[in-house]
Amino acid sequence: MLIKIDNLTKFFGDKTILENISLDIKKGDRIAILGQSGCGKTTLLNEIKDNNKAITKNYKDYSIVYQEPRLLPWKNILENVTLVCDDEQKAKKILTEVELKDHLDKIPCEISGGMKQRVSIARALSMEPEVLFLDEPFSALDLKIRVNLIKMLAAELTHIKTLKGLVYVTHNILDALLLASKVIVLGGTPSKIVYEKEIDIPLGKRDWKDEKLIEIEKEITKIFLD
């Protein structure tokens, strides 16, 4: 077991945000936590990331990709990655893989939003983490850029040998279905797990037109809209 959440309940003041969340994350899992805005999914991610006695963690290190790139504006692309990994060769290699080889000495304000998010992904992967957290990393991007970026990330994940698991928070159903090995949906007030589904299609073969994915998409849309 990589991460075990046992009956987690979380309050903000006297308001219950999360109630009785139990979840087992096994080695090799890619868990997508889906839910609508304000349902507490980022809170859940932060609880996993930080320390909560309801959560047992069985990994040494993690890294994270945020919704905003959170790059340092005064450092160029390469420096933003070497800042965390201290290894220029490794940083260059990963930046080449995310197709940023020609932009190493640009500063963040000189590149597009999608490119910034690729830098942010490269920064997270350069740490060679055991667990990778993604907090709505594609939400601010256009559909086409988003789908391409997910494909790129899926390919990158296979390169990181240390990686044991991925926890991915999003409100976008398609994003979740293209990447996750298991989807859970948070719903209700306070939020509980209302839906769980394993997806056994290999990462490289995921396609938005896939019948199986469309079926799951419909089920989750129904939960969201009801």
């Binding site: 993690y62 945020y66 959170r70």
Partner: protein, 262 residues
């Protein structure tokens, strides 16, 4: 098109000259009404300026003053920035220091001048110290607020990626407050200039402020006015030849669309 361009250019420059011309005209008129000991004629001020330039060791006097201004600005920036970063990071320290800074800020420079002459005697030190004490609180408040305004998400990133304390200082704190350091350097030089020249009048044996005061004591009114004129010109030079270029350079490097990238 080029002709209208030049006409516009000349009109544009002439706008700037209107105020100065009016001042000179008014001055010439007033000089005919009041005695020369109050308002000397423009001609006598001009002669006094030439005389100062030719006969007095004006360059070495300016040198003393400029040395004091730079010493005081550099010390102010070092003290103000260091204290500002520490207090921006450590809230209890901030609470302890802020009242002191407010008190220091509200004692007028003349008060510090009397004290520093008592403590250090007449010489270089009083004017430098008065400059430092006047500038440090302002720089301090600048830096504290800019440290406190750094986006907390940047620190969350630093924590998630386990950046060392040293990296957080050199890669996040210092670059984030660079624009404020630039602004405080510019403020520091400007303020030091005014305060040091004033302090020199009473607390130094040399320097341009002392020459101004000395000429007043001798009753040489045209020389007093020409020293004021020289002081104003030098102040402008400090502002536009020293403070602004430094500020622009730093801002160009550190303020390029900073907010877009958070």
């Amino acid at each position: 098109m080029t002709l209208t361009y030049f006409i516009n250019k000349i009109l544009n420059i002439s706008n700037y000259l209107v105020g100065v011309t009016l001042l000179l005209v008014a001055w010439s008129y007033l000089a005919t009404i009041y005695p020369p000991a109050i308002i000397p004629s423009l001609g006598s001020i001009y002669d006094a300026t030439i005389n100062i330039y030719q006969n007095e060791m004006i360059m070495s006097e300016i040198g003393y003053t400029v040395y004091r201004v730079f010493a005081s600005s550099i010390i102010s920036v070092i003290v103000g920035v260091t204290l500002g970063i520490l207090c921006g990071v450590i809230e209890p320290l901030n609470k302890a220091i802020t009242p002191l800074a407010i008190i220091f800020e509200n004692v007028p420079p003349i008060g510090w001048m009397v004290l520093t002459i008592m403590w250090f005697g007449i010489g270089d030190i009083p004017s430098i110290v008065v400059g430092v004490i006047s500038a440090v609180p302002i720089i301090f408040f600048y830096i504290v607020s800019s440290v406190q305004n750094i986006n907390p998400k940047t620190f969350e990133m630093a924590k998630d990626f386990k950046l060392s304390k040293m990296k957080i200082l050199t890669s996040i704190y210092i670059p984030s407050i660079m624009p404020s350091i630039a602004a405080s350097l510019s403020t520091g030089i400007g303020l030091s200039w005014r305060v040091v020249v004033m302090a020199e009048a009473l607390s130094a044996y040399d320097g341009i402020g002392q020459k101004l005061w000395g000429n007043y004591m001798y009753g040489d009114t045209p020389a007093v006015y020409s020293y004021i004129f020289i002081i104003a010109l030098l102040g402008l030079a400090m502002e536009y030849l020293v403070a602004h270029p430094i500020k622009n350079k730093i801002e160009k490097r550190y303020m390029r669309n900073v907010n877009k990238n958070r």
